[in-house]
Symmetry: C2
Amino acid sequence: MPALRHSPIDDAWQAIDACEGFRSIAIDAMGGDFGPLVVVEGVHIAMSQLSNNRLHGVRFLFFGDKPQIETELAKYPKLSAISLINHTSVIVTNEMNPIDALRHKDDSNLGLAIAAVADGTAHAVVSAANTGAYVTLAKVILGTLPGIDRPAIPGMMPNKNGMSVVLDLGANLECSSERLIQFALMGEVLAKALFNKSSPTVGLLNVGTEEMKGHAVVQQTGQKLHLIDKKTQEDPDLDRFSFHGFVEGTDIFRGVTDVIVTDGFSGNIALKSIEGAALFFFELIKKSATESLWNKFIALLMRPILKNVKKTIDPRLYNGAVFLGLKKIAVKSHGGADPFGFAKAVCVAINMVQSNFSDDIEKRLQLVSKIQ
Amino acid sequence: MPALRHSPIDDAWQAIDACEGFRSIAIDAMGGDFGPLVVVEGVHIAMSQLSNNRLHGVRFLFFGDKPQIETELAKYPKLSAISLINHTSVIVTNEMNPIDALRHKDDSNLGLAIAAVADGTAHAVVSAANTGAYVTLAKVILGTLPGIDRPAIPGMMPNKNGMSVVLDLGANLECSSERLIQFALMGEVLAKALFNKSSPTVGLLNVGTEEMKGHAVVQQTGQKLHLIDKKTQEDPDLDRFSFHGFVEGTDIFRGVTDVIVTDGFSGNIALKSIEGAALFFFELIKKSATESLWNKFIALLMRPILKNVKKTIDPRLYNGAVFLGLKKIAVKSHGGADPFGFAKAVCVAINMVQSNFSDDIEKRLQLVSKIQ
């Protein structure tokens, strides 16, 4: 990463590089709707949420407008002590399209934050930049794993039993069977790292759970995933890949499986429909709660209960999507995330760095060759 | 319909046939989870919900096991007076697959109820039979409109401003641009008949609202629908086809458009995800409401508010899907519908019969040729 080497903080960087035990997280300070104000406080909250044990050896490398970042960091001396700033002359804004962002891959906040991971200075990057620009730069700078054309973007959904990983929510709108299988394998490894489960279950989203349901691609994918499951059971060196079979839309919330696999088109539509349903539901309650004075009174009393419900489905809790299929770790925060939400994305990155995530994914993807 | 002509109620049928003003609704009395018990009470509720004006000239023709239907009809003398029963020797059960159902198209409750519409004895058929068997028989017996291979199944969704039609929720899992355009045109006519709007708006479900979003089929469909909109504006003889453009999952509940068009795969997943989300919310509230004695007390108080919310999203309110693309009118009730739900499906059928639904659909579909 030559750009960094010319900065006045060379010595500090080199000191970090030299320290084997350190785990550095590159933070794009300028991404998202609010820039350093939210990002820096978010990292501070993440710090306070992590145990000393998990925080040990973690360092943060901020990329963006130095004066702004310094102003924010000054509020949090403890964070400041384990942070470094790399000033970048160009800022990738939220509105910047992927092509313009690519043009500035060598001199922008986002480009240099990702490059820090590519050259090993950092172990993961977190940004709230717009998805198009981020995924394009990450793909170009970090590279994809063998057989992966485009990274997948997973989402997290609450359910009866906890959480599940749903993918793809990204740009893979039309998926071949091969791609859906990759999603299944990568999603399983992610669930393993996030939920600390030895053998998370995987379901394939379909219009019904019966074996004859669905179109040709889903049918074929289901058959192949059953085969992969069987292969892992026969091989004592492999962890079991637990394929549950087809799941329906209703099963997402039943917590039937830890991972739910679908193409980017259906995934996006499912997620946004659910988001819309949640908003509608709260609006209906609000509307009904203002219909009479008595209802207004009850509405006041029921606030804590609704707050509890909101807490479970709070999207901030599920912030932090790891791009799947890249050679290194890049985590995307929602652009509109508040500090609490950004903190979750930072925690996801630290979680990933401290697991064998990238190696595990590569190993899992090799399973594909076993069914051909 | 020769089978009917041999029955002992020939004279009555002929009397009905002779009376031009009559509108007969064929009712499959045996469909659904509960058979005549729910079906007959459902028709009775529909009767009581319709104004005298709308009920004028309406007759019901029940198909199935005569003794069972008679027992139920005996409870409702007013309904009995405007009903006829056609006993069928074979009953198509809920579990019967389409192939077996087809084998009995000439001697079963479902087959003969549909045939009554085909030969003009009835003007619409309502059944709660399983979708596969029903849609297959309806397609074979009633036939599809020119250019339609398989009927589409629309669903109704509540939203901020009222209701919208979402289609396809049926068996058209993978859709060409041509098919999506047919859905758009037929959905618009349905919305016109159901919502009594002169120019309902139509949206195409996509992963974003921007023009460059989506895969090739969605892109192409969007462009063609814009063209159709333009053509209808240029031709003073045509009602405007109001194409809004792309809509997202969140827009379903915002009531952005009256009609939302998508393929059967995404449609099914959106609908079931929403269904799952709604159940999950109520469960979360229930769970939180039992956490303390105080919460239990509040839960009691908030019941009326939640009841209000449930009333808006009550799926029974939206029961009654008209198969789109058939030459005549066939309405599907949910198999698990209670009498109130079945009544809604009957009302939809009467609504359709009293509008120019079938003619309007044929006219609208002719628009496709204008953009080629």
